[in-house]
């Protein structure tokens, strides 16, 4: 089914535009990187707050809530721009092991990170220190996003 989708995307209008133009790809790639700076910085700070390493004067719930537009908005822009880059050669990416790894890690990171951030953002009680599961989750989230970055760069080299 995924393969059929990739095949359809390759022959679609978007697929043909992304394949045939050098500059469309460059522009989309730059948008992907700009969103990465916003998303990556905000996601890191949210997880660092869960670990008690930054913004200690604000509650972790406040930090999770204040930065949700940046992590949420950032991930949406990255997903759309990433999808457009993928449309450049969907069948080729389908067989690329780095791309497959990146997508699998992305799915897990998306669930782990946003489950934690949204849950903490909705906390009402005056909190004390972060529980162990939250600290553990924050470390997992940072490591997942980091591996996604590495896998993403490897797509062009494998």
């Amino acid at each position: 089914m995924l393969f059929a989708f990739c095949h359809w995307l390759a022959t679609s209008r978007i697929g043909i535009i992304m394949r045939d133009s050098t500059w469309d790809f460059a522009i989309v790639e730059v948008v992907h990187l700009l969103a990465l700076a916003i998303f990556g910085g905000a996601a890191l700070l949210v997880n660092l707050r869960f670990l008690g390493l930054v913004f200690k004067a604000q509650t972790r719930s406040q930090v999770a809530r204040e930065l949700l537009p940046l992590t949420g908005g950032g991930v949406i822009v990255m997903f759309i721009s990433g999808f457009l880059m993928m449309a450049n050669g969907p069948v080729r990416y389908y067989y690329n092991p780095a791309f497959r790894l990146k997508m699998a890690l992305f799915l897990v990171a998306l669930l782990v990170h946003f489950f934690l951030q949204i849950k903490v953002a909705n906390e009402k009680a005056i909190e004390e220190k972060s529980p162990v599961w939250l600290k553990f989750g924050a470390i997992v989230s940072v490591l997942l996003w980091l591996s996604i970055g590495l896998a993403g760069r490897a797509i062009g080299y494998v």
């Binding site: 460059a26 790639e29 730059v30 700076a37 910085g41 700070l45 930054v54 204040e66 930065l67 980091l146």
Partner: protein, 164 residues
């Protein structure tokens, strides 16, 4: 700029430059670390800029946000700078002719001047506007300049590889 060209040619011929260029893996690894450094650097700076613009953390004093973010911003800067120098060394001669590289250096100079001016002027009186959600116009101007310049640096940086 003949002397600068000769310098770039000499750097391009050094062992370090040849070694980074010659390996399939070293360049992309340094490049990936460079991007991660930029993410931390620009990500933390953007959050500070967005606070100056009054978009987030409005109840938190500006100076406290600055103090909390600064160690991470500097950490990102050091990583970005060291890896950036290594990448530049490996492509010193082609970079000399690369218009995107020249634009990037110019923008880096400007983005360095921006906080210098900010700290010597409006930020000196931060105690008078530290807790206000609407910051002075000059602080918002500095934040806007910072966001635009960093975006320009990322765009120019990526374009280095597209222009030959």
């Amino acid at each position: 700029m003949q002397i600068l060209l000769h310098l770039c040619q000499w750097i391009y011929s050094t062992h370090l430059s040849v070694a980074i260029r010659g390996s399939v893996w070293i360049f992309p690894i340094i490049e990936t670390i460079h991007v991660l450094g930029i993410t931390v650097l620009v990500g933390t700076i953007s959050i500070f800029d967005l606070r100056l613009l009054g978009w987030l953390m409005k109840r938190e004093p500006v100076s406290r946000i600055a103090a909390q973010l600064l160690p991470w911003t500097w950490g990102g800067f050091v990583v970005m700078f060291i890896t950036g120098v290594l990448l530049t060394i490996s492509e010193a001669e082609p970079n000399y002719y690369n218009i995107a590289f020249r634009i990037k250096l110019l923008l880096l100079l400007l983005v360095g001047l921006n906080p210098l001016i900010f700290h010597l002027t409006i930020y000196r009186r931060v105690n008078t506007w530290d807790v206000s959600d609407v910051t002075p116009i000059r602080a918002r101007a500095a934040a806007t300049a910072s966001l635009l310049l960093w975006a320009g640096i990322i765009i120019a940086g990526r374009m280095i590889a597209y222009i030959h």
